[in-house]
Symmetry: C2
Subunit: 416 residues, 2 copies
């Protein structure tokens, strides 16, 4: 047993964020510092691992500068996947195959960075390991811009997306104000978060000393009423000429239909016979333009809000790094079947630390914005919401610029 290696394998799963690679950097750096022999990266998560797609991270990271670049690189350096393991009793072969590969690579600790589905993977693999007597430890590291994971105060990735949304909202509001003299204009911004309104609510942070912030904010947690909406916009237009509205991509009518589905109310077939659906903001901008007769426009933050690492929050990048390292520490100390979480120690000054929870308590719960953090009319977030998010967008991590553009660290398979 003296020659047995102590290796770590780490993977990334689910939708990318600006800081998921900072967690990867935290895993790598902590594992090296703790004397683990090798750190492997699974390519495209468990799905790639099943195809024996992995890389020795020491072939990819050669210096502390590489670590810094990795912390500033958006999306999943190792590639992501959306792959849900079957229940153990449904397909044991897949589990045996995974453990065969882990044994071959002499893995001691398996770290998975992801959202709810990834924590489900950690739960199943740790359960299987215990039942079958495998010695590997399985630890989860949270990530999701949506901030909808339970038990952790917030998720890495959320703060940076919130910061990008707030900064871009300020810029959009300025743009709109410059253009409205003796004429009205309505801007509808569409923000990610199908079921949880954390990101859409973050548009409220644009309200600062020199910016009045968006006028209306609609979260997916609250049923959207088209008539109320129209009346509210008309009322605001009595007082001001530029209206800026933030809506979640997932806002729904009381009957459960998504607002974007309303655009399909007619016979939506294009010149080539394909059915087409519009986005929520584009639809609402068109709707308001037709009803009110003024200029309207829509802005979708789309993929940009989860990949704009050039606008990442320092708090977010450092917490993402911290939870990556904390997972390795926990594994090294013998924890298994746990997720690292972020505990808020203090609001002001803001302080946080890493905590540990059993994944059986965490998996597949969705944390929504509490009703009391939205105003009575359902069209803005409250001070409590803003106080919760504000610390998470603080501080910057200046991009490392090369020839005028942010430099990223990217996988080089020739070095594998």
């Amino acid at each position: 047993m003296a020659s047995k290696k102590r290796n770590v394998i780490v993977g990334q799963s689910g939708g990318p964020t600006s800081v998921i690679n900072s967690s990867l950097a935290g895993v790598y750096k902590n594992a090296i510092e703790r004397g683990f022999d090798k750190v492997y990266g699974m390519l495209h998560g468990v799905q790639g691992l099943l195809d024996e797609q992995y890389v020795d991270m020491s072939t990819q990271i050669h210096s502390d500068l590489d670590i810094e670049l990795l912390k500033r690189t958006p999306s999943a350096f190792l590639g992501s996947c959306r792959y849900k393991l079957p229940e153990i009793h449904e397909n044991m072969e897949i589990y045996d195959r995974i453990f065969e590969i882990l044994d071959k690579l002499e893995i001691d600790s398996f770290i998975y960075i992801g959202g709810n589905d990834s924590m489900d993977t950690i739960r199943k693999l740790s359960d299987y390991a215990i039942v079958k007597g495998h010695k590997q430890k399985f630890l989860g590291v949270p990530k999701t811009i949506d901030n909808d994971l339970a038990l952790t105060d917030h998720t890495p990735g959320f703060g940076s997306a919130a910061k990008y949304i707030a900064a871009s909202t300020k810029e959009v509001i300025r743009d709109a104000l410059g253009l409205t003299y003796k004429k009205e204009m309505i801007t509808v911004m569409e923000i990610m978060g199908r079921n949880a309104g954390w990101l859409t609510g973050a548009a409220a942070l644009a309200k600062t000393e020199e910016c009045e912030g968006p006028d209306l904010i609609y979260l997916p947690e609250i049923a959207f009423d088209v008539d109320d909406f129209l009346a509210k916009v008309k009322e605001l237009l009595q007082k001001k000429s530029s209206i800026v509205i933030a809506v979640s991509e997932g806002i729904k009518l009381a009957d459960g239909r998504y607002v974007c589905e309303l655009s399909g109310g007619g016979d939506y077939v294009d010149a080539f016979g394909h059915k087409q659906l519009q986005g929520t903001a584009a639809y609402l901008a068109g709707f308001l333009g037709a009803e009110i007769g003024c200029k309207t426009r829509s802005v979708e933050f789309s993929t940009l809000q989860r990949s704009a690492s050039h606008m990442a929050s320092r708090v977010d990048i450092e917490e993402a790094f911290m939870v990556g390292g904390a997972a390795v520490k926990a594994a090294d100390e013998g924890y298994n079947g746990n997720m690292v979480v972020i505990d808020r120690v203090s609001d002001d000054p803001y302080m946080s630390s890493a905590g540990i929870y059993d994944v059986h308590r965490i998996a597949n719960e969705e944390k929504l914005v509490p009703r009391e953090w939205v105003n009575k009319e359902g069209n803005y977030v409250t001070k409590d919401f803003i106080d919760y998010v504000k610390p998470l967008i603080q501080g910057d991590y200046q991009p490392i610029m090369v020839n005028g553009l942010p430099r990223h660290l990217v996988l080089d398979m020739k070095k594998k």
Copy 2:
């Protein structure tokens, strides 16, 4: 005459940019340094001036820090307008009204920051002044993200929008690569520039040592062929699983129809009976999804590309500041009816200086991307194009961050 004041008035017109306020800062600072008595800002350009809407800039700028904030503030600080003066013979009263206001304010120099229409305003006002014996001088300062002004090497505003587009394209490409394992995904990005493809072509700058850049780029100067496009995408999918495509919002078919009009080929009426039109990228993403059957998505850089001052180019901000100052210098030296332009002195190392052109030679010509700067197939820009744009995105102007967000300088009418 000893008590006669020597004042400057400055206005902003047309679509805002990230750096149009840096030109305003250049005008203000240079005018103060040259001993002009006051600098007035017209609110919402000539349109506001006609309503006697203006502000004494010394009530708004109190320190060098305010100048630095102004250089980093997107959109038009003074408010913009889209107002075209009538021909002189059509409505002399408007001209008399303007000169009455200018005389009242003891204006010596009138500086207008804008695009083609603004240079047309400068031409008309300087012609009228000469004919009527008014002593004011009229100078134009170029701006437009579209880079479609003739005679100037490029326009302030273009470099920063190009930098934002290139940086965001790198981030979108990373996001896409992280998500494509054993499945294909096509991303279509829509970029501003109705007739001129300068900004769309700038997506090619994302091609760097560690990023392969977009796969296809379609400019509005070249007729778009849907069949060729589909065939080319299918061909690329044989070789790679993530395809990223940049299209101008203004691409047109050979018969002159905009591509986005194809989305209206069916009976496009929403649930409330309104006709709705989709964007170009959303339409093409839907089209490719239906034809090929793989996942597609669209990203519109929309307003963000012209207002993202947090990603502005240092070269652009400094040139915008320079041409603002150069306009005041020119007026001070007796020039009238001229536009300041940017002359490229050297490519490598990049050097530029301000030049002066007669606005009669400039107004209302549209500078398009030359055919020889697009490849033969019409789906990418050439090295000449890239060499032209690259110097313009260099260097950064770090935002001044307050509570985690970029701080702007905004008009305070209480101080008027």
